[in-house]
Symmetry: C3
Subunit: 354 residues, 3 copies
């Protein structure tokens, strides 16, 4: 951990200080937990009142109109400034420099680049190529002819099936599976016959794959995870699906096969997308949504079945009023019947009348 003044931090992130620029900062913490020497940040309006009680030495904000006596670092993009400061003060994970463990299995026909660190019980199979500066943790399996670029990190128990290609600076979290066969069967006379899956999985540069994800290889075309996209934990990607660059797929998302996502899409947790459809660029899909049709560029959709977000918020929020809507319809039907027979709608029913 480094120690910096608030002024130095502001300069580093291109922001400005309101209050004491000389306060010393050595780490980051949430508003509720921060103490002396901590910088905090306001990520979400619902925490704004914590600015009045926090014991942080400084807070990163996007606007200096907030009411607080705490020194502020005002940044145009406060979350980005927070990230920069986290990297400056804390850095990313350090990995042990153990070289290539004699207890790893490296095929004679595999090629390993310079400055790689490969832990015990990892397997690098025949013909696989690993670039420079890669870290491969225990019990990870890199299948035959797999290609891995430079500066990748593969955490424990990752399995990459044969022939898949991984770009540079890719992070694959523990227990993720890359390139298992697509779920492709031809059903004939009630028996499901396995179709060879001859596509592979291509993971482009700067992708991060969450723990326990499963990314199927394609039947014919490759399955692609585009540059800079990030997948949360336990995400399932179907065979031949293409996730464009710079997408965010939150935990437990599922995308069926042969679907295509454009760039900069955000898919909320547990959302599902059917196969063989096209999702445009900059699309946002709500958590638990069920997307069954193409979605155009820039759209925001919610719900299952997913519809345009503004409409969905109103529509799905009205489900709770269905009982009273149904009751209203029944009352209207009775009122109309009475009206038509000469009675008034406001009259109470008198079933016990002679």
């Amino acid at each position: 951990m480094e120690t910096k003044t608030l002024g130095e931090l502001a300069q580093y992130v291109g922001g400005r200080v309101r209050g004491d620029a000389n306060v010393k900062i050595h780490s980051a913490a949430t508003l509720g937990r921060a103490g002396e020497g901590d910088i905090s940040f306001l990520s979400n309006d619902k925490y704004e009142k914590q600015l009045l009680t926090t014991r942080a030495s400084a807070v990163i904000v996007g606007s200096d109109t907030v009411a607080t006596s705490v020194p502020l670092l005002v940044a145009e993009d406060p979350y980005y400034a927070f990230m920069q400061i986290m990297v400056l003060l804390h850095g990313h994970r350090k990995h042990k420099k153990l070289g290539i463990s004699p207890k790893a299995i490296i095929s004679d026909s595999a090629k390993i680049g310079a400055d790689c660190h490969i832990h015990e019980f990892a397997t690098i199979a025949d013909g696989a190529r690993v670039g420079n500066g890669c870290i491969i943790y225990p019990c990870t399996y890199v299948g035959e002819n797999v290609q891995i670029g430079n500066d990748c990190i593969l955490y424990p128990n990752v399995a990459i099936y044969e022939g898949c290609r991984v770009g540079n600076r890719v992070i694959i979290n523990a227990n993720a599976i890359i390139g298992e066969d697509g779920f492709g069967f031809a059903t004939h006379n009630g028996v499901h016959h396995k179709i060879p899956q001859i596509g592979c999985v291509v993971i482009e540069d700067d992708v991060e794959i969450g723990a326990g994800c499963g990314i199927e290889r394609g039947t014919l075309n490759d399955t692609i995870i585009g540059q800079g996209s990030k997948l949360g934990d336990l995400v399932a990607i179907g065979h031949g699906t293409k996730v464009g660059p710079h997408c965010l797929l939150v935990a437990q998302v599922g995308i069926a096969g042969s679907t295509s996502l454009g760039n900069h899409c955000i898919v909320g947790g547990q959302a599902g997308i059917v196969g063989h459809i096209i999702i445009g660029n900059n699309v946002a899909i709500g958590a638990q949504a069920g997307v069954i049709n193409n979605v155009g560029d820039g759209k925001v959709v919610l719900g299952s079945p997913a519809i345009e977000a503004n409409q969905a918020k109103r529509a799905y929020g009205l489900i709770q009023f269905l009982p009273e809507m149904r009751q209203s319809i029944r009352e209207l039907q009775e009122q109309i019947e009475r009206l038509a027979s000469g009675g008034g709608p406001g009259q109470p029913q008198r079933p016990d009348e002679p």
Copy 2:
């Protein structure tokens, strides 16, 4: 397997016998499959009629008003009595006492307690501490400076990232992942920048983690799984989320980051909970629910979006009637139009009239 008389079992669980207390019991089985020597139990009203046909030697029930000639063990909490008898007759899983395999990797700076059994291909990294009486199965990875209490069981292929803390008597099932980075990125000019995740995961005493779960470490605060809580398979817990003590999270539940659950919450399978909300104590959340707002103590919620359960059961159950509701509305509109123009609502439309 032990053999006991029904009377001995009743005494052991604090219940009483209706029928022959001398019948001998050596194991447990379902009503449908039980035979001589088996004790069964009535877990669910829908199986009550099986009491008339079961060949069990005895059945554990909560009330002796049931109609059957089978000897009964009547217990106040029959499911608890069933558990006690299962433990008495069958016991929990026995683990092989192999000591510390010479084919495990134990860092010189790791500390392993007494009476631990660590299988081949397990890795205990630098600075890790494992308490007494722990069982660690093959290919499990215990990262740097991880702390594990006493009497824990880690099944195969578990991965625990650095610095996480596990209490006593914790069970972590196969392929679960603890402490991978939270899904935290600052997006700037369309690029997602990884934020160092400096919190860890704290798993308190007596927790069980299901197979294939992913529990993210916190960005700043720790992610916490409270004492005695049990997670089913493939559950995803977001960064900095706090699950209180004695919660039950069924398979495939997903909870986003920075959310807090109180104690004794029950979350049904595949339910999702958004980030940054507060769920009180003793809350029950239905399967597949989507919880997007705070939920107060003792509430029961269902549906996506989740609403109070009684309301939800009626409301979501009415979705199937939407077509007829819409049709009714159209008919009402036509009737009103006719009424207003002097016609009666009961008159059939006669489009072919001159």
Copy 3:
């Protein structure tokens, strides 16, 4: 890769050729990507117009009425023909013939059949039996007394808990977990007590289990995956549940405990099925459905809660019209009020009238 003429392929699959039967085929590709020497197939009507532009040397179709100049292989079941041709041209995955690695751990009391290939870092525990012709990849764990039939493939990091039984020609993809304890706890005075799970998991012949699946062992009865059933990735099966023969469970499906599925059921991605219910034969369950009641033979259900599909398509599709339905109800109420007080429904409201 083999090279065949289109005529030979047609004969092989029992189909017929429209166009040049002598065109040479050596591999398969999608309509959009195919080139000379590739055979493609029309899987989905939405790709039919690609027949006009594809550069494939031939296309497998189900009917010769399509408009195209490309040579056609017309087959009664074109997807099955496609599968047969994929197997003929490309074959299934070849596995390295390494015998039994000296770096695998095989218990002295385990029995391994002929012609098995067991990779480094695999563990075959005491009393386990592996049939002939099995392939077991690195870091896979076969627990005590597990029985595995002939010609099975276990990919890396699979964990099979003790006593489970696996049939012949079963494929278990990477990181799947078989036989972890069922999620069974007796809650007493607010504490959840673990119930020993004495059932196991039985996987019948010709099953394929997806990557990262979790299949719980039964509390008393076994959990069963029936012959020829195929599970996608990250599927969770509860304790004591029985999946009948020849079912297809798509990725991320969850089935709670003690439920029974008949034969030839298809369960869409992310669908959930509650415990203790009975699903008949030939049932189709839509993606993301939530099934809470028994479903009879041959039914198709959708939605959460799941209802009959035709009804569901109309009903769930109407959720988006709830705002206007509610508005219509309000207008009707106002109109009726005016009608009852002598006004007409078509008259605009004039709130500013004296």
